[in-house]
């Protein structure tokens, strides 16, 4: 069976085992009353004790960089001028977990954001959302509660790179939604130049869970190196496509199926592995295996699509996402995508694509060129047999099904 992102979106987000983030959502969105039936009010927590709890469970940011949340909280100066930014821009078309969470459990996200704001002694909370339905869900949630008056809900439609956290804080400061050219830390110089605690929506929902469950119960499920649950988007030829909440530490093969063959871990800035092997799914484990989980996308290609064509399509999408600030990305990504097209018709050798991918590493203001390079370089390794067939025949005989979604928008080819 071939699943597309349409299926992933249509499938009801499901929890395997312990439902926490998705608790009570089987019947749909939780309004405030139903939310309070399911979740306790988060315990009030000072910054120090919240950081201790975050450290005890080793919570890592759920947007992609997997930065330790306790460190980030302690690195943000408290005070009424400090901002809390909830990043729900989710600009990667393969990922649906954030919009699923915001659509179904908006109050959990707000609980977490408000708890962090309280711990930093500020009322300034900015919620940044691209998806229309998620925006509507959060807007209704903000109206439903009295403690959310300081929350500013911002529609942010600035693509993949524009959703990068520093681009988001710049846009919130009235500037362009572009990553800055110099290294700046949002915790020090964020919205309006103020200290800013910014993280992904799921991070805030996890913080809310931690504060209502307490450390021991929170860490009662999941892997030792990253306890609790995580949201994932499963995509393509997998047993259950769609958004899932799973305890960390499950075997990768349980999520993407046991059959041998390539697995994409971490979405379009992610890494292709030759097969699921014995890996388990937690951020620290996957990172040390050289395949960071990023925003939690796991994908497999079905046998009946042209795998190299799928990779090339995503490479063109990645090229289109360049915001044109940095030459090596703006020129290098399209050149890489075109080289993959040439590889698919057997006109160049793999090494030509490899070289172009290598040239991207470390040559941009943000991680976009590096992520794109990782995606393509690892694909070239795991698809060596397919590439050999393309080299010999100029094609593989299989149609390009478009299993890896690129947002439906026009992709320059």
């Amino acid at each position: 069976m071939t699943a597309t992102i349409g299926d992933a979106e249509a499938a009801v987000p499901t929890a395997w085992g312990t439902a926490r983030l998705l608790a009570g959502t089987r019947a749909g969105r939780l309004d405030l009353a139903r939310h309070r039936d399911v979740h306790d009010v988060p315990r009030r927590s000072e910054r120090g004790s919240l950081a201790d709890a975050l450290d005890a469970v080793g919570l890592l940011g759920r947007g992609g960089a997997a930065f330790p949340v306790a460190t980030k909280l302690l690195g943000t100066r408290a005070g009424s001028g400090t901002y809390v930014v909830v990043n729900g821009s989710e600009g990667e078309p393969a990922s649906h977990k954030d919009r699923a969470l915001m659509r179904l459990a908006p109050h959990l996200v707000l609980d977490g954001a408000l708890a962090v704001a309280r711990s930093l002694r500020t009322r300034k909370v900015d919620l940044v959302v691209q998806d229309r339905a998620a925006h509507a869900s959060l807007a209704a949630a903000v109206r439903e509660r009295r403690d959310a008056r300081g929350v500013r809900l911002v529609h942010h439609d600035h693509g993949f790179v524009g959703g990068e956290v520093r681009a988001v804080t710049r846009a919130l400061s009235g500037g362009p939604a572009l990553p800055p050219g110099r290294r700046v830390l949002p915790t020090v110089h964020g919205v309006d130049g103020r200290p800013t605690f910014a993280s992904n929506v799921e991070t805030f929902a996890q913080i809310a869970l931690l504060l209502s469950l307490g450390v021991d119960e929170y860490a009662g499920v999941g892997a030792a190196d990253e306890p609790g649950t995580t949201l994932l988007t499963l995509l393509g030829d997998v047993p259950h496509p769609g958004v899932v909440e799973v305890p960390t530490g499950l075997p990768l093969s349980a999520l993407v199926g046991e059959r041998p063959g390539p697995v994409l871990v971490g979405g379009y800035h992610g890494t292709w592995l030759a097969d699921p092997g014995e890996l388990t799914v937690s951020r620290p484990t996957l990172r040390s295996a050289g395949a960071p989980l990023n925003a939690g996308v796991l994908a497999r290609l079905p046998h009946d699509t042209c795998a190299l064509g799928e990779v090339a399509t995503v490479a063109h999408w990645l090229a289109d996402q360049s915001v044109g600030q940095c030459g090596p990305c703006f020129f290098g990504l399209p050149a890489l995508a075109i080289t993959l097209d040439q590889l698919a018709v057997g006109r160049v050798a793999t090494e030509a694509a490899r070289q172009r991918a290598r040239l991207l590493v470390g040559r941009g203001a943000c991680a976009h060129p590096d992520g794109a390079a990782a995606f393509v370089a690892s694909a070239l390794t795991v698809l060596d047999r397919e590439i050999a067939v393309h080299r010999r025949h100029g094609h593989c005989g299989r149609p390009l099904l478009g299993v890896l979604p690129t947002g439906g928008g026009p992709v320059t080819r």
């Binding site: 800055p180 030459g327 090596p328 990305c329 050149a335 203001a365």
Partner: protein, 71 residues
């Protein structure tokens, strides 16, 4: 010292590669490729000149300290 670049400023004029070919070459689009970001005493003068002539002020030299390890 270490060479740093603001990629959002660089327009690929390429003067840096002319003045500091020991550390900087250019890709096919004319943008700098660093063979090594570290600048030793021997090349410091050339590196400073390369920084000084960058028309976009994209290139700079930063002091490296033990707390800021060189990657």
């Amino acid at each position: 010292m270490r060479l740093e670049i603001d990629w959002t400023r660089c327009d690929g004029h390429g003067l840096c590669a002319r003045l500091l070919p020991e550390l900087i070459s250019l890709d096919e689009h004319g943008f700098p490729v660093f063979t090594d970001r570290r600048v030793d005493q021997q090349l410091a003068r050339h590196a400073r000149r390369a920084v000084a002539v960058c028309p976009r002020l994209a290139l700079r030299l930063e002091q490296t300290s033990p707390s800021h390890p060189v990657r």
